[in-house]
């Protein structure tokens, strides 16, 4: 009550003091503490060829608040990318992850930065959860020098080597054999780390997935294949593309687990379980039952193959951020207002990053030829007279 009085008085004071007061109130709860909290997942796990982990997830207020903040940041970032695309600052393909944030956030909470993650083209949020900055995201989306791939990759090619985020791949399904290769390297180095290779329900029908799974099971690789099942492969519903939509069972001899992908805590529990399993017994498949609010990409309105009612229904019932918000509020970890302040803060952060990214210059013309080969080898350097010749652009 004192707090609400404080907040009320703060609203009357100048805007300069406002952040101070909200910081005061935030200091009480948003920093959170590590006191353990046990939460039940919304839906039990379904397992295939293995024992499902328990529904009770160990967490703490700090973690819940971090979840909230991170997911709010990701949501805001994706919405901002939407507007930037419509303003023609982002071109080409832009695949947005809003609705699926819980998968990225929950997975990150269960693992370390030494574990590898590799995903397909819907990679903005996974990049951020791996430690990428907003500036790198927006600059790369706009093709600027400050981008994570120096502007040369684009939306589908985000990578962060130092935190073992291996991208960012445009061809559907091709990242899964790469992920199994990462797991092979990890097995070789014997450092008790695993690889999470993410793919969608559309990619689940690719042959190379089964090839890679076979090899991983044969060689006992610590590979965890995660199917982010958002029920639509671009415009095709999963029941029209797959005879068996039980993607977690598709491994046959490889165990699988079906998880509610809109519940960050369930995702965290499943990933923890999967990591332990993979280190001991080889590959495992996780199916994350999730949903994307946007269309497949910015050129897809997302409403020709599904109804708006369906989208708003999921948004009302299963939205990951709302779920965490309700959890926080019901456990009295923060007030409604504090959470709203977090969202405002996050919005500002995103806006600042966009402004900064807009100032970043476009890449130099000579960048066209760098990084084709390691150490600049290649046809353009060895002209007929063996001098360093850079082609002049028209």
């Amino acid at each position: 009550m004192a707090l609400s009085h404080l907040a009320a008085s703060a609203s009357r004071s100048s805007s300069l003091l406002k952040p101070l007061s909200s910081a005061l109130s935030l200091r009480r709860s948003i920093s959170g503490d590590n006191s353990p909290l046990t939460v039940e997942t919304s839906v039990p796990f379904t397992s295939h060829q293995c024992e499902a982990p328990s529904r009770s997830v160990e967490t703490n207020p700090k973690e819940l608040l971090t979840f909230f903040r991170d997911m709010a940041l990701m949501r805001r970032m994706e919405i901002a990318a939407d507007s930037l695309y419509k303003a023609k600052l982002i071109r080409g393909f832009c695949h947005l992850y809003d609705g699926q944030e819980a998968v990225a956030v929950g997975m990150e909470a269960a693992i370390t930065k030494k574990d590898c993650i590799i995903t397909a083209y819907r990679d903005h949020c996974t990049f951020v959860s791996r430690g990428g900055t907003l500036l790198e995201v927006f600059a790369e989306l706009m093709g600027r020098q400050a981008g994570c791939s120096k502007g040369k990759g684009g939306s589908m090619h985000f990578y962060k080597k130092d935190s073992n985020f291996y991208g960012g791949h445009g061809i559907v399904g091709a990242q899964v054999p790469l992920g199994c290769g990462l797991a092979f390297a990890q097995k070789n180095s014997k450092d008790e780390t695993v690889t999470f290779a993410l793919y969608g329900d559309g990619a689940a029908n690719q042959g190379q997935l089964f090839e890679a799974l076979n090899i991983s099971a044969l060689w006992d690789l610590p590979a965890i294949l995660v199917c982010e099942n958002n029920h639509y492969g671009m415009g095709t519903a999963e029941w029209r593309a797959a005879k068996s939509p039980a993607y977690y069972k598709r491994g046959d001899y490889v165990p699988g687990l079906k998880v509610d992908g809109m519940d960050a805590l369930a995702v965290k529990q499943a990933c923890k379980f999967a990591k332990e399993h993979a280190l001991k017994n080889g590959p495992i498949i996780l199916e994350m039952d999730t949903y994307r609010y946007h269309g497949h990409s910015m050129s897809d309105p997302g409403s020709t193959y599904r109804t708006r009612d369906e989208i708003s229904g999921v948004r009302q019932e299963r939205d990951p951020i709302e779920r965490i918000r309700k959890l926080i509020l019901s456990h009295d970890l923060a007030t409604e207002k504090e959470l709203k302040d977090v969202e405002k803060e996050v919005r500002k952060e995103v806006d600042d990053a966009i402004a900064q990214a807009k100032e970043s210059p476009m890449p130099e013309p000579s960048e066209l030829f760098t990084n084709v080969y390691a150490k600049g080898l290649g046809v353009e350097s060895f002209g007929a007279d063996r001098k360093e010749v850079r082609a002049t652009l028209p």
Binding site: G181, G207, K375, V379
Partner: protein, 413 residues
């Protein structure tokens, strides 16, 4: 010198003569003393590279290149004799053994090197290139994969992203078409799309080319399909010496390298140095210096060219034969120097006429050296047909020595 080459000459003769007795090319005439055409091939191109030499050898450094330059370009007899006397103590082996030696030495030197492929481990490799390596290095470094080119090539690339140095073997290059997506998009482009964060030090190798009646699908020349993938390097070996050297250089390179071997060249015998050496990946090899015409070739066609060269020399021509070795990027420096000297170019390749290495090379030469050419660049390639099974038809799909002789005569008139 003559003694050591008998083996090569004999095999070369066996290669190019067809099994059918009604060989209209009169190859008998060409089988005279093989030593003559090889006597000027420089042996001085080996260098002692310390086995603890840095992994990232700097190809740009002129100083380094002076040491290991194969351009002692125009080898003189004087150069080759002191060199050859010190190479006498070398050892003789077949091309596939040379590949194996190179692979084995690199695997000993660097624990990150591993081999993946079908039947490379316990079986020893379908062409015996990896024989004995599995027992020596274990199952984790010599990996037998199931028949799943797309995924195990992808896995090799994924492993390379973390710093391992896999050598992926395609049992036949043609099978790598199944892995084309991985090779093109991931192998070639990841260094670029990640802004330089990841290097892919992978080697993809395997036998290709037209063999002995292997049929259309097993006689493909993949270099023409892969040549426009940005970010990869392609090399083709043709002798035991350069096979070992290129294999080692490819493994040490930070870039993805595709090493093209040829099914019919695996049993070539040659004496190679005992010392550790590598061959520069981007340089061409001067096989026979000359004055009248530049003949550019690679892989198996080198031997057809050398056979034709014997006839040409008898007829009074002096062809300069260059084995381009580096299919991507082309060594335009060596080629250019040659063109500036002879002013006539003949390209002899095994790729098909449309879209082959010869086509690109013709374009590159015309663009860069047009002023130096006295005649249009001539390119002899295989026919644009699937390789037929029948022996006589198969012979007609590839370029034969007699055609090379005719072409040179035409060019030089």
């Amino acid at each position: 010198m003559a003694a050591t080459f008998h083996g090569v000459g004999a095999t070369v003769a066996a290669l190019s003569s067809s099994s059918s007795p009604s060989n209209s090319f009169g190859s008998k005439k060409l089988l005279s003393s093989p030593s003559r055409s090889f006597s000027v091939r420089k042996r001085a191109s080996f260098t002692v590279v310390r086995s603890d030499g840095s992994v990232n050898f700097d190809l740009n450094s002129k100083g380094r290149r002076a040491q290991q330059l194969i351009a002692n370009a125009v080898a003189t007899k004087a150069d080759s004799s002191p060199a050859s006397s010190s190479s006498k103590p070398g050892h003789e082996l077949l091309l596939f053994e040379a590949l194996r030696e190179g692979l084995e030495e690199e695997m000993e030197r660097d624990p990150c090197v591993c081999v993946m492929g079908e039947d490379v481990g316990h079986y020893g490799g379908s062409y015996k290139v990896t024989k004995g390596l599995a027992t020596k290095f274990g199952d984790l470094r010599v990996l037998d994969t199931p028949i799943a080119e797309n995924s195990f090539t992808g896995m090799g690339i994924g492993a390379a992203m973390t710093g391992l140095r896999p050598v992926v073997e395609g049992m036949n290059m043609g099978f790598l078409l199944l892995a084309f997506n991985q090779i093109s998009n991931n192998c070639g482009m990841l260094h670029y799309t990640s802004g330089g964060q990841f290097t892919i030090p992978i080697v993809i190798r395997g036998p290709g080319g037209v063999g002995r009646q292997l049929g259309a699908e097993h006689s493909q020349r993949l270099e023409s399909y892969f040549q426009s993938i940005p970010g990869i390097q392609m090399v083709a070996c043709s002798t035991p010496y350069n096979a070992k050297g290129l294999m080692k250089a490819a493994i040490r390179s930070e870039n993805p390298v595709i090493l093209f071997e040829h099914v019919l060249l695996y049993n070539l015998k040659e004496r190679i140095p005992d010392e550790d050496y590598i061959c520069n990946l981007e340089e061409a090899e001067m096989v026979r210096p000359g004055e009248h015409v530049t003949i550019l070739t690679y892989s198996r066609m080198r031997y057809h060219v050398m056979q034709a060269a014997k006839t040409l020399v008898n007829k009074g021509y002096d062809p300069e034969v260059i084995d381009i070795r580096s299919l991507k990027p082309f060594d335009l420096y060596t080629i250019g120097n040659s063109v500036k000297k002879t002013h006539r170019v003949l390209i002899v390749e095994e790729c098909m006429r449309t879209g082959g290495i010869g086509a690109s090379l013709t374009a590159a030469i015309t663009e860069n050296f047009n002023d130096y050419l006295d005649a249009p660049v001539m390119c002899l390639s295989s026919q644009d047909v699937p390789t037929p099974y029948a022996g006589t038809l198969e012979e007609w799909t590839v370029v034969q020595p007699a055609q090379i002789v005719t072409a040179v005569e035409q060019l030089c008139q």
